[in-house]
Amino acid sequence: MTFYDIIFYLFAAITLISALFVVSTRNIVYSAFYLLFTFFGVAGIYVLLGADFIAVVQIMVYVGGILILLLFGVMLTNKITNVEIRTGTVQLLPAAIGIGIFMGAVVAVMIWTEWKLEPAQIPLTTTKDIGHLLITDYVLIFELLGILLLIALIGAASIARRDQE
């Protein structure tokens, strides 16, 4: 057990436990806060994978953007002490069993597949290289995403205020 491994298990535990709370707690606001920890945990895992830039983006966009957006969503649409947040569509136990089987299957695939491992040289800082990639190989996708974000912005605004005309 190297130091790297310990850190990994720490982040993995943070991620998975908080994710479990996200999907099981009854209070929607708690749920949102556990989601915060999940995102941090995932960011930590990114760092362990040598993806420092992605980790920072993860924190900035997910924590700074999406989570806040979700909290707004919660506050705008709920009385905070909401009574029932479980769905009536799917019962908890069958769902848990089904998802358990699913998880087992996927994990089994992950473990027993012979992955083609070729340790690559990930540079220490990836920001510059990602920047290069974005404006060379992936420039079309990059531009399209810019347009997509603009469309999403306009679309979200127009959907949200539709009935005020």
Binding site: V22, I28, G100, F102, V106, E118
Partner: protein
């Protein structure tokens, strides 16, 4: 087994994915369903980054992960706008009651 390698990250991602699906399936509130979706996207992202490191694909995986994050942001914005609209129409956001698609 304890030596951390690709498999470990993949298992984390698989579990996170399953938890996300569980959240999507069992939750009543549309916002919480969205949280489940975010978990699923994060799980996928972990896979991308992990393969990028262990599979010698260069930084492509990381770039794709970046794109996924951007898409997630766009999706969250649109989804919340829709949720707000649903709230205005039905005065709740319970996905199990909004089944007008059936008709």
């Amino acid at each position: 087994m304890l030596q951390v390698g690709l498999t470990h990250f993949l298992i984390i991602s698989a579990v996170l994915f399953s938890l996300g699906i569980y959240g999507i399936v069992t939750r009543k509130n549309a916002v919480m369903v969205l949280m489940g979706i975010e978990l699923v996207l994060n799980a996928a992202n972990i896979n991308f980054v992990a393969f990028s490191k262990f599979g010698n694909f260069g930084l492509g995986g990381q770039v794709i992960a970046l794109f996924v994050i951007v898409l997630a942001a766009a999706e969250a914005a649109i989804a919340l706008a829709i949720v707000l609209n649903i709230y205005k129409t039905f005065s709740n956001v319970n996905v199990d009651e909004i089944d007008h698609l059936k008709e």
